[in-house]
């Protein structure tokens, strides 16, 4: 004789658990659609403003060829780092992370689901921005698209780990302020509208946004390979930030 609540515990298949969590993350992102559009607002303004006018000094005559890849890199940072850090900070303060921690979803499962959902969102935003770029006259090269995608995935992972890590360290209000400040600083110094400060090879390691933007300009505008220093720099950032996130991530 078994009743309604007779125990039958167990975790669903990992693919199901993580898949359903990714779905929930994307559903909630879609529900904040206005935030997603706003997150693309600044990159669009930069694209049109710096790409089509002589508002800023660029180290090249091909303004769109310089600005559009930079804007793509900026969008990746905006979504994977700033947006995600703020969202995760508030999820912690709402107790959502604690509730998930008290469920069969594991910590690596949650980190994976969050990063995967961000990758989907980044892909969508990049397609839209690249289409706008092409519409106003950007003519990308396609020979090096795969390496371009590769560095973009690395950059997304690096930002995502960094976002989850700082969301674990600070109060949500502080996370919001810090993530926004970093975004503005990178917008100015990250080699998007202006040339990045020339730090030589060290720049690839110090400014991940500038490194990512440079790699996208090399591949998509010039059709040349991704510099080795960029692979190394972004790879280090991704490994370091994901390790920090996995170690430092707190459910509460």
């Amino acid at each position: 004789m078994t009743g309604t609540f007779t125990p039958a515990p167990g975790r669903a298949a990992t693919r199901t658990v993580v898949g359903r969590q990714i779905r929930m993350e994307l559903l909630l992102t879609a529900r904040r659609g206005e935030a997603v559009v706003l997150a693309m607002g600044v990159p669009l303004l930069v694209l049109l403003g710096a790409g089509l006018t002589r508002a800023t000094n660029l180290p090249t005559g091909n303004r769109l060829g310089y600005v559009v890849p930079g804007v793509l890199a900026l969008t990746v940072m905006s979504t994977a780092f700033t947006g995600q850090a703020i969202t995760t900070g508030y999820e912690r303060s709402y107790g959502v992370l604690k509730r998930l921690g008290a469920s069969p979803l594991t910590r690596p499962g949650l980190l994976f689901a969050k990063t995967a959902a961000i990758l989907c969102l980044v892909a969508l935003q990049l397609l839209v921005l690249a289409a706008v770029g092409v519409a106003v006259g950007w003519r990308p090269e396609f020979g090096q698209v795969l390496p371009a995608l590769g560095v973009t995935v690395l950059a997304t992972a690096a930002y995502s780990g960094l976002a989850l890590w700082i969301a674990s360290l600070l109060r949500p209000e502080t996370v919001t302020a810090a993530a926004t400040l970093i975004y503005v600083l990178m917008l100015a110094a990250g080699g998007i509208m202006f040339a990045a400060p020339d730090l030589g090879a060290a720049g690839h390691f110090l400014l991940p946004l500038a490194a990512h933007a440079e790699a996208l300009r090399n591949t998509l505008t010039a059709g040349t390979a991704v510099p080795g220093g960029v692979w190394a720099g972004l790879g280090l950032w991704a490994a370091g930030s994901l390790t920090a996130a996995a170690r430092g991530f707190r459910w509460e």
Binding site: G3, T6, P9, R11, A12, T16, V17, L28, K98, R99
Partner: protein, 295 residues
């Protein structure tokens, strides 16, 4: 188990065991250490002394193995504010290998009408019921319920109590915290009364309320009987005339004790017009324990 927050000790050396298929209630005021104790059992904190074993596992080290087997109802929050009731419950159902039917749970907990309502628009009682549904949906062996009926109206509270009784009948072990004495008295096989981080009393509700000297007998009879003589030679009893013709006898009132009291009244030749027995409630025990500290 010992739990400290900075310089403050929330739980000083508490030991307890929940037998399988039984309901244990942790009873205590705010700040008694109930939630701290649960946090350790749920693996959100490491104890500062002692250890917790849940289903034979370490809640922190064996977190991933333990979570699918237990159901946790947190005291507040814990849900995406922009997700609907149905979406949240189905998400947690999808994490389980053999989940309960989510529609059945929504019906049982009176949440069907708010299935498409976003969490932040729910009343406090509805949020609590959803939290309970989330705790149960994975068909756990053991559930931790932190103040499960806080913020619920009377009807929802009774529904929840029936549900907890059904959990017990179906073999689910329950550890719940409450500051509601009637809740503990009705649901629990075993009650642990906590006060300022220590166990003040423990036992079944019957044991806690049947400590010697706590049952009362109220007898209405002729006024002015020499009631003091009733206790003479019966050290277990005390007797007083509270109002004219209304006598209160307390003490060891087992069958022989009651017989002795009534025999005494018969021997005086008085006419007894009413005899009331009053069992001490858990509330009396609880207030007596609290009073000791205040004194």
């Amino acid at each position: 188990m010992v739990v400290r927050y900075g310089g403050t000790t929330a739980v000083y050396g508490v030991s307890l065991t929940v037998p399988r298929g039984r309901v244990l209630a942790l009873l205590g005021n705010n700040g008694a250490g109930k939630t701290s104790l649960l946090q350790v059992c749920e693996g959100f904190r490491r104890p500062d002394g002692g250890a917790a074993r849940v289903l034979g596992l370490d809640p922190v080290a064996d977190h991933d193995a333990l979570m699918p087997r237990i159901g946790i109802m947190l005291q507040s929050g814990g849900v995406y504010p922009w997700a609907t009731v149905g979406e949240i419950l189905r998400l947690f159902a999808s994490f389980a290998a053999h989940p309960l039917d989510t529609g059945m749970l929504l019906d049982r907990l009176g949440l069907r009408t708010v299935e498409k309502t976003r969490w932040r628009r729910l009343s406090g009682g509805e949020q609590q019921r959803l939290a309970l549904a989330v705790a149960l949906v994975g068909r756990p062996e053991l559930v931790f319920l932190d103040e499960p009926t806080a913020g619920m109206d009377t009807e929802a509270r009774h529904t929840t109590w029936q549900l907890i009784e059904e959990l017990r009948a179906d073999g689910v072990s329950v550890l719940l915290t409450t500051h509601l004495l009637d809740e503990a008295e009705r649901l629990a096989d075993h009650v642990v009364i906590m006060r300022s981080g220590v166990v003040a009393a423990t036992g079944t509700p019957a044991e806690l309320t049947a400590v010697a000297g706590i049952d009362l007998l109220e007898v209405h009879a002729d006024a002015g009987l020499p009631i003091a003589t009733l206790a003479t030679g019966r050290p277990g009893l005390t007797a007083t005339e509270d109002a004219s013709g209304e006598y209160t006898i307390s003490g060891t009132l087992d069958s022989a004790g009651i017989a002795a009291v009534l025999t005494w009244f018969a021997d005086t030749g008085a006419q007894v017009t009413a005899v009331n027995t009053r069992r001490r409630t858990l509330e009396d025990v609880y207030l007596a324990l609290t009073a000791k500290v205040l004194r």
